[in-house]
């Protein structure tokens, strides 16, 4: 489940936000601080996660720090996914 979750996030970020496909992302690539996803685009990434996993992420949890890598996003999503 964990890898599938990360793989889904990684695939989505790569498809939607990466401009140059010659530099592949990994789970630890800095997304926000690395300038791949900006604060406005974070809104659409949050919306994707909410739609895909049928969750609601409160605004105070959707911080640049929490969205800074696939690993961190996966931790955040797991907080809200009902097991």
């Amino acid at each position: 489940m964990a890898d599938e979750l990360k793989d889904n996030i990684l695939a989505y970020v790569t498809k939607e936000y990466l401009e140059d496909d010659s530099e592949p992302l990994n789970y630890e690539t800095p997304l926000i601080s690395g300038g791949i996803v900006d604060s406005f685009s974070m809104v659409s990434l949050k919306r994707f996660l909410e739609n895909k996993y049928n969750i609601s992420i409160p605004d105070d949890k959707a911080t640049p720090e929490a969205f800074d890598s696939v690993n961190k996003i996966a931790v955040l999503v797991r907080e809200f996914v009902k097991v």
Binding site: D20, P30, G35, S39, F40, R47, N51, T63, E65
Partner: protein, 567 residues
């Protein structure tokens, strides 16, 4: 003691000649911003002083002295000349905040070409319109942004050169592409700077209007006179400062106060090319010992949201003066700043069209939290009665912020659109498009926009441009775009959409449309909320009434609906 000293004393007998004299410029002389920002500072004995200290999200820092930026801007200028580009040609800078952006800007100006900086997050349609409108001859970009340029290349016959920074080891170059490596190109010492004059065009920044497509704001080399003095008096930039302007040079703050003002004053500035995070920003201030910090209300509110505890973890004692620009700075942010940094953010007000700060709070002057401040000496600012097109005879009433159009860095026209330029004037006054009131002491207080333009995080977004792009989505039949209040960004984009037959509203379509606009225009223009509706409010002649939707979002009175189609 601040540079400006007493604001009231500065108003007496003010002349822009003060700035001309300090810069050693006399009317009729050659004036080239690139030279003033580099060669002149070296000639003043500061060749070895750090000019630019750059840090990215990864990798080593880069440091440039004033002599380094002189040589590097020569190198870029010589390279562009070698490609056959000539004075007056438009050269677009489409890059993240990497050193080549700053150095390229100066190099372009040195050879008399017109710099057209564009925000690197622009989507291909935003990029296409601006490159096409400017008829740019070349674009300097990074490998990561090349795919966006390639996508629109066939529609850009004027674009002869795509100059790619950081192309090493990448896929083969395509039509019209060349790779450029600043280090490998080597320094160019002997260099003939183009003899630009006061009215020679320098910079073309694009800005959004309420109707029609974005307009290119044309500035000239003489703008330096105002950018230099406002940098000195309003921002209080000092010789021993470590200055940090957080703005991207894709926007006017990033060029007027992220390049021209600090370099023409010989100040050391540092740049952080990384996405926003409170922790990394505070670390940067601490590590670089930033003393003058020029930022934006959205960033300040984001820092407020991150809390006070994180501030205490860092030694921010180097901070001497703080200023803000982009949108109105709310009083809570000023009070918070005083509490956590021990000093307030001084709000400054200006626009792409003004080229420099025109209304501001000044060091040494009482800050009234929430106020825009007072006009810069040499700038005549009034609150205009929108009916009579004359200044109100007494303070207190909300009207149009208007300026006497005579300061050095005012725009000269909109590129290829003199008609739109002329529409910016009423009764001889330049109309900013903002509304405000004056208090009894002459302070301006922002009251809102006078049009439908959306100010999101200090950037203007045209509802017309977003609506036009929405209609290109296969599911969208009609759309209306308005602003929606937002606690961090002041306003964000909201779209009302009707769907074509066969499409069903839902969260997947909502996300698809958001991403469609983000990629086509920019993340700023992406609607953060889409409301699917059965129909849009229209006049009987069929015009969509945005103001009704706007009023609904802001909880305001809807007003006169006598022309409403379904009323």
């Amino acid at each position: 003691m601040s540079h400006i000293g007493s604001y009231d004393d500065r108003l007496k007998n003010f002349s822009w000649n003060i700035s001309e004299k300090e810069l050693g410029y006399k009317p009729g002389d050659v004036i080239n911003i690139g030279w003033y920002c580099t060669d002149r500072i070296c000639q003043m004995g500061k060749a070895n002083k750090p000019a630019l200290i750059w840090e990215g999200s990864t990798g080593p820092e880069k440091r440039y002295t004033y002599n380094d930026i002189r040589l590097a801007s020569n190198t870029i200028g010589a390279y562009l000349r070698g490609l056959g580009l000539q004075a007056g040609d438009r050269v677009c800078l489409f890059m993240d905040k990497i050193p080549e952006l700053y150095l390229g800007f100066l190099g372009i100006l040195k050879i008399g070409e017109i710099a057209q900086p564009l925000f690197s997050a622009f989507g291909d349609e935003s990029l296409f319109f601006r490159l096409s409108n400017a008829e740019a001859s070349a674009v300097i970009t990074q490998k990561k942004h090349v795919p966006k340029v390639r996508k629109i290349l066939d529609k850009l016959p004027h674009l002869k050169h795509i100059i790619i920074v950081g192309h090493e080891g990448a896929a083969p170059l395509k039509e019209r592409e060349v790779a450029f490596n600043l280090e490998k190109a080597g320094p160019v010492d002997a260099f003939q700077i183009h003899p630009t004059m006061a009215e020679s065009p320098s910079v073309l920044h694009y800005t959004s209007g309420t109707t029609g497509m974005p307009k290119g704001v044309k500035h000239v080399h003489y703008s330096l006179i105002a950018q230099y003095l406002t940098g000195k008096w309003a921002l209080d930039l000092r010789d021993d400062d470590i200055y940090w302007c957080t703005a991207d040079p894709g926007w006017v703050t990033g060029t007027s106060y992220g390049i021209i003002a600090p370099f023409s004053l010989g100040v050391t500035q540092c740049v952080l090319d990384a996405g926003f995070q409170a922790e990394s920003w505070y670390k940067f201030i601490e590590k670089r010992r930033v003393s003058m910090w020029y930022s934006a209300p959205t960033a300040i509110r984001s820092l407020m949201k991150a809390g006070d505890e994180i501030v205490k973890k860092h030694d921010l004692s180097s901070l001497r003066h703080l200023a803000s620009v982009g949108e109105p700075l709310n009083s809570e942010a000023v009070v918070w700043s005083q509490k956590v940094f021990g000093k307030p953010f001084y709000d400054t007000y200006w626009q792409t069209e003004t080229g420099c700060i025109v209304i501001s709070n000044y060091p040494g002057m009482e800050v009234r939290p929430g106020s825009m401040g007072k006009p810069f000496p040499g700038v005549t600012g009034v609150v205009l009665d929108p009916v009579k097109n004359e200044p109100y005879p007494a303070p207190g009433k909300i009207g149009l912020v208007a300026l006497k159009f005579d300061w050095p860095s005012r725009m000269r026209t909109y590129w290829n659109n003199e008609e739109a330029f002329q529409k910016k004037f009423r009764g001889g006054w330049y109309i900013t498009g903002d509304r405000a009131r004056l208090d009894n002491e002459g302070y301006f207080w922002f009251a809102g926009r006078d049009d439908d333009i959306i100010n999101t995080a200090g950037h203007l977004v045209s509802p017309f441009e977003v609506e036009s792009a929405l209609l290109e989505h296969p599911a969208v039949a009609e759309s209306a775009v308005v602003s929606k209040p937002d606690p961090i960004n002041l306003e964000v984009v909201k779209a009302f959409v009707t769907l074509k037959p066969g499409f069903t509203a839902g969260k997947d379509l909502d996300l698809e449309i958001m991403n469609f606009i983000r990629k086509k225009l920019s993340p700023l223009a992406m609607p953060q909320e889409i409301e699917f509706v059965a129909g849009l409010p229209k006049t009987r002649s069929g015009k969509i009434m945005r103001r009704i939707l706007h009023a609904k979002e802001w909880g305001e009175e809807i007003g006169d609906t006598s022309t409403l189609e379904n009323d």
